[in-house]
Every structure is written in C-alpha cells, then in structure tokens.
C-alpha cells in the first residue's frame, strides 16, 4: 500500500489500473494508454500529478539561496509569475533532481520537484539553505492536476469566472497566475499546450469532476511517459541521476554559465567536465524495424559497444519505437541497438520527435 493522492478514489471509480510510482499508488491507465495519448495530442486530457512535491522557499534571501542551489540562473526571472526549468546538482555536478522554479514574490519562490526524490531533495535544500535567511516549506496541503492538449486551456477557462478567464487568456507559456486559491501555470510534460494547476487538496475532487464534465479525459502515467518521450523531455531516474551531469543528459542548455562569478553548486566540477572531450552525448533514436526500444538496451557501432538506451517506448504518433540514449561523443548518424538477441539499425536524431502532433525530427 502506497501513499494516495486526494484523487485516488476517483481513479478507482474511472476504472484505472493502479501501479506503484515512487511510493505512490498512481493510475497507469484507465483502459488504453495509447487512446489516452492520442486524446492529449488531439483534444484534452488530464493527469493527477499530486504525487509531485511542491516546496515553497520563503524569506528575504530566497533569491540568493536559489542562485546558489540551481544550475540555471534564478536572476533570469524578472517578472513575477515566470517559471524556470533547472537542475539541482551535487558537488560532483551529478543531478540530484530536475525541477521548475516559480517567482511568486521577492520573498516567495515555489519549486516543483519529483516524487521519488522528495526526501533527498528536501534534505539537500535544508542543508544548503542553513546559511541563508529562508524557510523551506513543503506544501502537503495541495494537490496538482495537469490539463494538457490543444483544447485544454479552453476547457479550463470554462470553469473560471470572467476576470480569471481574461487573465488566463493572456497568460503566456512558462508563466503562472494565482486565481483565487489556485496556482495555475502554462507548463506541462507532454509537448502540448495546457496548464498545471496546484489547488487545495480539499477542493481537488470537485475540480477534477468539473473537468470531466467539460469533456477532459483522464490519462495515466503510461500516456504521460509516451507523451514526454515524443516531446523530447527527460525523466529523472532513468535519463539522468546523480552519476550523470546535465552535459551528458541533453540539458546543457539549462546551465547558466554567465555571470561567471555566480558560484552555483556543482559549477567547478561542471567546468572541469565540460573541457573533457570524452563526455558522452545524449541523443534521440528512431527504430525503423518492428520492435520497441527500452531502457538499458546496448548500443553498438562498428562492433564496439558505445552506450545504452536510457528510456524508450513506442511512439503512438509516429507508429515507431523512439528512445533517448547516452552514447560516445564520436558516434553519428546511425547505430545498432541490441534487443532480444538481435541487432537492429536505429537512426540518431535530435529530440523532440513530435511537435503539434506531427513528426519533427
């Protein structure tokens, strides 16, 4: 028996198959994960993501603290409500977690971190935060629903009053708003437009049911995984962890090297590693043959093992297997992937694989 979100009984009522995810009992699918995937690509689906950890960093030195904690630069957030994607590194520049940080007020930032990494994340933030005048405030009084798809925003707007609707219509991607007791950001993990909505746990069931009434279909972790892979978005724990740096994980773009005097955690190790030509590349793979790419499959080039698949799946939009892989820096164009005793050719591409419901690699 794992931890349960406020929506657990709703999932049961909707016929969900429940699986353990990071210690939580979460819906894998409500019948067919491929149908759920297609609904998010073509219409609007919703995910219970209440297992994710919401942490508020509160206090006069919040910005200074985050400037040290995060590899991306919190100073990039000039406007209240804006969001920043970043890695949180250890001293060796290994990734402790990836997260989204929101600038709410000068003395109030909100971080959304992964579920399975909750304990170590909070320990790490508390440890590094002890030198600053801040408070780390975990919000276990809230739940979170992601509404995603080309019609997702319209359907959410119908549940809002007129002034909230006007404000949301003007909300640009990667920004957030606080209508009433909700926290709504135009963010997601599917590659589609939509919102991630943090709301009081006690109001979650009512809001979920209202979304159902608007025709938003529930989607589970299965669809969430195929959607994020198509969209070229990493998953912590499989695509990266404490043994890999952002440079080896396709996340070099999230490191803010400037200004050079900003001493963020992991910087010295990262600088040393960025000079190392042996650093591995993080790439996308597409299989043309039948078969599904899966994590830990070995990658071969010229009879040499050059890396492995970090996560893979069958792409419902492309009708082919896709994957992320970490490979030797000198391997280009194509490679072989070992699966079930055979070696099948795969093309090396730059993710994402799908944009606006179409192939884009």
């Amino acid at each position: 028996m794992g931890k349960k979100t406020p929506l657990f009984d709703e999932h049961g009522r909707l016929g969900a198959k429940i699986v353990d995810f990071g210690g939580w009992d979460m819906p894998l699918h409500y019948g067919s994960q491929i149908e759920e995937h297609n609904i998010v690509r073509n219409d609007a689906g919703m995910f219970d993501v209440s297992h994710m950890t919401v942490v508020d960093v509160v206090g006069g030195q919040a910005r200074r603290f985050l400037s040290h904690l995060l590899a991306n630069d919190i100073q990039r957030l000039k406007q209240k409500g804006k969001a920043l994607y970043s890695c949180m590194l250890n001293e060796q520049a290994g990734i402790i977690d990836d997260l989204i940080a929101f600038y709410i007020e000068d003395d109030h930032y909100r971080l959304v971190v992964n579920a399975a990494t909750r304990d170590k994340d909070i320990d790490w933030m508390t440890r590094l935060g002890s030198n600053y005048d801040i408070r780390i405030d975990e919000r276990d009084d809230v739940a979170m629903i992601a509404v995603q798809g080309p019609h997702a925003r319209d359907k959410v707007h119908r549940l809002m009053d007129e002034s909230q609707r006007h404000a949301l219509e003007k909300l640009v991607p990667f920004h957030s708003l606080n209508p009433g007791d909700m926290f709504i950001s135009r963010t997601g993990y599917t590659g589609e437009d939509g919102y991630e909505i943090i709301l009081p746990a006690a109001k979650t069931v009512e809001f979920w049911r209202a979304l159902l009434q608007e025709g938003v279909k529930p989607a589970g972790l299965g669809a969430r995984d195929t959607l994020r892979l198509e969209a070229g978005l990493n998953l912590y724990g499989t695509d990266m962890d404490e043994t890999t740096t952002p440079l080896e994980s396709g996340l070099g773009w999230t490191i803010a090297w400037e200004p050079v005097e900003r001493e963020f955690m992991g910087r010295a190790s990262l600088e040393a590693k960025s000079m190392d030509s042996a650093t591995k590349r993080f790439v996308g793979l597409i299989l043309n043959d039948r078969g599904v790419l899966r994590s830990h499959q070995r990658i071969i080039k010229d009879n040499r093992e050059v890396g492995e698949v970090t996560s893979g799946t069958f792409s419902p939009v492309l009708g082919k297997a896709i994957a992320f892989a970490r490979i030797a820096a000198d391997v280009e164009n194509d490679c072989l992937v070992e699966m079930r005793g055979r070696q099948l050719p795969a093309r090396i591409v730059k993710p994402p694989f799908v944009k606006h419901g179409k192939a884009c690699y």
Partner: protein, 130 residues
C-alpha cells in the same frame, strides 16, 4: 477479475487453446495476459508450415510495456496465422479469445491435450498473480 471462458483450455504461461471441429486448434493469449501487458503494438506470428514442439517459443506479443514470448501449448504444425494483427495489434487487447487469435495448429500428439489446464485450474494460476 479477468474473463476465462469455460470451453477453452489453458497453459500456465497464459496461452489459450480452442479445439475446432476438424481437430485443429486456435491459439492466443488470455485476457489476463493482455491485461498485464497493456496496449499491444506488435504481434510477431510464426511461419505457416513450421513444426513446433509443446513449450517452444513460437510468437512474440509486444506491448508498450514489454515484449513477451508466446509458447506453443501443443506440438504440431502451424497451418494458419492471424495476419490482421499486423495492422491491428490492439485486437489482442479488445477480443483476446475471438478476433485476437494468433495462430492455428494441427496437433501431432493427441495425448498432449490432457496436459492443458481447464478454466478452473487456470483461474487459480491467474489469481496467484493478482
């Protein structure tokens, strides 16, 4: 609870066998198996004419979640395969005992039929995994 029709026989590895009037058999995977595997994306059927032994790997069902071998429940010759699964693998999810059959076999050893499980015995196997 998964559907386990009383008129079929089963294996511990989750195949079902239907005895047809002409003495041949249709074979597929059970409702319990398709439910465990989830959405199917590829079904690899055996070659027609192949001679197989009971317990031999003779097909592969691959879902978004995992690839799984299908073991031949009986010895004999493959006489037909369900080519419709090539473009519609999801039929195995939607109708595992009907349109989702995988191959047809002419048995070479009639006694092997008695090694198969009846519905009640298979229900016990499936329940152990739940």
């Amino acid at each position: 609870m998964s559907n386990i029709p009383a008129n079929l026989r089963y294996t511990k590895s989750h195949e079902w066998v239907e005895r047809l009037d002409d003495g041949t058999h249709k074979i597929g995977i059970t409702d319990h198996a398709q439910d465990l595997l989830g959405d199917m994306v590829y079904i690899e059927v055996p070659e027609i004419g192949r001679q197989v032994k009971a317990g031999e790997e003779c097909a592969v069902v691959e879902s978004v979640k995992a690839a799984s071998d299908v073991y031949c429940p009986l010895s004999g010759e493959i006489i037909d395969v369900n080519t419709a699964l090539d473009s519609h693998p999801e039929t195995v999810n939607k109708d595992p005992y009907g349109e989702g059959w995988i191959f047809q076999l002419r048995p070479s050893d009639a006694d092997e039929w008695n090694n198969l499980l009846d519905a009640e015995a298979y229900a016990g196997v499936a329940a152990e995994e739940d």
